[in-house]
Amino acid sequence: MVSDMESTNGNGNNQGSTHTISLLVENKPGVLHRIASLFSRRGYNIASLTVGPTERPEYSRMTIVVRLSSKTVEQVVRQVQKLIPVVEVRELSPQDLIERELMLVKIRTPEKNHAELKALAETYEASIVDVSPESLIVEATGNAGKLDALEDRLRAYGIQEICRSGRIALERGFKTLAPPALK
């Protein structure tokens, strides 16, 4: 699930650099609503949000990317921590971050360009996953910077649709975001 929400009640919190917040939440109905509601009410702009299952079925992991000042991010983390279905939350340190995003790009282009596109895709370790006479779909994974670069290169060929998953992330090394009882 991805979202690219614009804050409607911007309170000046939205200037700043990109921060990645990782949450371990109870896998229950309405949890996403509670978290999205908190961000919206306090005027924290979400750049991307992903949620998916974890190693334990009773918990889901959310990765939320925000563009905020460091001070505000501390506030976000403390506010989010107060939500009862949120078992753990932490800002992942940028140095130790392994982050990935998936992108699908549909390009409308004559067949004669396909070989060229295939070569371009290979440069970015991307692949062509669908081909028809008038169009093809490129699939790529990587960090946001790499996908942005590929997107730029593909633009010349006529992008019809882009779907990006939003970022998922883990920290390098042994540190985890496991629920306290499991540590």
Partner: protein, 568 residues
């Protein structure tokens, strides 16, 4: 307790019984009928039938404020539930422990726009600590146990449990859990409290001020605060919810500061070099313009909610924890620091504060006035009550006059809507407070506009013969708004004059209450005496005051805290 077969509805009542609930405030309706049916003849729980669900929530708040226990209210689905919303929001802003239980349409109808259906859990997400929609009757006891635990634990606040009608009717083996396990609630504080750092700041401060908020009342830390304040000897200022956290009759206490604080209280905060904030959250009504707030002050901020630390004013030393356990540790650390390095000389600072106090007292002059001043009315009531009453207020000028002039010396004696500023709070809160503290004198100080927002519940007060006394400081205006129009909107009194209607004396009588009126200074003392002597049911006292009287001083919105406007 062995398991016992019963319906969900009966189980709700058994849960409340197990939680020690004495009173529930509410109104029945279609989707909560099974619970009310179970209530019929249920001996160990008293239900107070109110006339509007907003009153149910505020009365539960009043009860909670007055007793420190969790307040409980019931409402049906749809409009019943949405009418609770104002009270729930109020409880959220003021950290009042409240459990709201709502009926909802049957599970099979949820999401179909059924009659009287509202997504009340969705609606109350931003104004509750947590809420639950019960989808399986077997989870009901655990959920209610958790609801009470969450409402009262840590920083208290409201929670809501929404129970569809089929869940209320479903039968199951009831057993009330004995313990609670909520993995995501109250994560342990990771850092050791920096008590030595805080003590060093205090030891090095020559212009300290202690700032007390509602957290002192919540924590029941009055004795701990007193011991701390006595050791430091610093001036003490409070928020409106901090009233009673420290005796206002004590020479160190400067009373409320902020938008309508005394000039000397605001000057003290603005010129301090150290603010020791205890159970407070630097609300905009106390800080004024944030960028100019106490420019030279370092801040020691102690609060149970880590999200309040450095939210608005950056804490030099944050101390996260329960005041009642953490503050004595700080007191001890300060005592040690004083022992090792000596006490700072704060005498010149105290002299300066005393000077401000002498030069800019809170004052009003009744002499020469044709009409009763609101301040005089409050002063006379206070004198006649010998300061012993539990006071509830509405919201507006009367509330600020009461906050300025009523000297509160004990905890849980001044009950008001602070964060949300909910007009109509006074009467319901007085009802709840009187149920919570039956033998004590409960008075309301209300405004004519505020009173009319919930006045239908005089019926409730009358039915139960509650000896509450509601003093309406009547200026025939929505006075606080009118005051802003006079000061900041060029005297354009848009929709603030109120008609001289209803006749509050007749209204009181229509509800079977005693109605009294004072129009002149000559009448006032006798009328107050008469009101206080009447204990056979509620009294409504219509005090006609000078209409143009305004609350001074005032810090205009967005102005620095020391930039105050005074009276005529």
């Amino acid at each position: 307790m062995p398991a016992e077969k019963m319906t969900g509805a009966k189980a709700v009542l058994k849960c409340l019984e197990a939680e020690g609930v004495e009173y529930v405030f509410g109104i029945p309706g279609g989707a909560i009928l099974p619970i009310y049916d179970a209530l019929f003849g249920f001996k160990s729980l008293k239900h107070v039938l109110v006339r509007h669900e907003q009153v149910a929530a505020h009365a539960a708040e009043g009860y909670a404020h007055a007793t420190g226990k969790v307040g409980v209210c019931f409402a049906t689905s749809g409009p019943g539930a949405t009418n609770l919303v104002t009270g729930i929001a109020d409880a959220y802003m003021d950290s009042v422990p409240l459990v709201a239980i709502t009926g909802n349409v049957a599970s099979s109808l949820i999401g179909t726009d059924a009659f009287q259906e509202a997504d009340i859990t969705g609606i109350t997400i931003p104004i509750t600590k947590h809420n639950w929609l019960v989808t399986d009757v077997r989870e009901l006891p655990r959920i209610i146990k958790e609801a009470f635990y969450v409402a009262r634990t840590g920083r208290p606040g409201p929670v809501l449990v929404d129970i569809p009608k089929d869940i209320q009717n479903a039968e199951f083996e009831f057993e009330y859990p004995t313990s609670v396990h909520i993995p995501g609630f109250l994560p342990p504080v990771r850092e050791e409290p920096r008590l030595a750092d805080a003590a060093t700041l205090i030891q090095g401060s020559t212009r300290p001020v202690i700032y007390l908020g509602g957290g002192v009342r919540t924590a029941g830390a009055h004795a701990e605060v007193f011991a701390f304040a006595e050791l430091i000897g610093a001036p003490v200022v409070t928020t409106v919810h901090g009233k009673g956290a420290f005796p206002e009759t004590h020479p160190s206490c400067l009373g409320m500061f902020g938008m309508h604080g005394a000039r000397y209280a605001n000057y003290t905060v603005q010129h301090s070099d150290l603010i020791i904030a205890l159970g407070a959250r630097f609300d905009d009504r106390v800080t004024g313009k944030l960028s100019t707030f106490a420019p030279e002050a370092k801040v020691v901020h102690m609060d149970i909610d880590p999200a309040e630390i450095s939210k608005l004013v950056t804490a030099t030393v944050p101390l996260v924890g329960d005041l009642r356990t953490l503050l004595p540790q700080l007191t001890e650390a300060v005592r040690k620091a004083f022992g090792a390095k000596g006490r700072p000389d704060i005498k010149p600072w105290l002299d300066k504060v005393a000077g401000w106090r002498a030069k800019h007292p809170l004052k009003f002059t009744q002499e020469g006035q044709k009409y009763i001043l609101p301040q005089t009315a409050i002063d006379v009531i206070q004198t006649k009550c010998q300061g012993k009453a539990i006071v509830t207020t509405g919201v507006g000028e009367h509330q600020m006059f009461a906050a300025q002039y009523w000297k509160t010396s004990a905890p849980r004696q001044f009950i008001t809507s602070g964060g949300a500023g909910t007009m109509g709070f006074c009467l319901p809160a007085a009802i709840g407070a009187q149920f919570g503290r039956p033998g004590e004198l409960v008075i309301g100080i209300d405004g004519d506009g505020s009173f009319q927002m919930t006045s239908q519940d005089l019926a409730t007060a009358s039915e139960w013969k509650l000896p509450i006394k509601i003093f309406i400081i009547n200026n025939l205006f929505l006075g606080m708004v009118r005051q802003w129009q006079e000061l900041f909107y060029d005297n354009r009194f848009s929709e603030t004059p109120l008609a001289d209607c209803p006749d509050f004396v007749k209204l009181a009588e229509a509800y079977g209450c005693l109605g009294l009126r004072a129009r002149t200074m000559e009448e006032l003392p006798g009328v107050v005496d008469q009101a206080l002597a009447h204990n056979d049911g509620p009294v409504i006292i219509d005090i006609r005051v000078r209409r143009q009287e305004k609350v001074f001083p005032i810090v205009p919105a967005g102005a620095p805290l020391n930039d105050m406007i005074d009276g005529e």
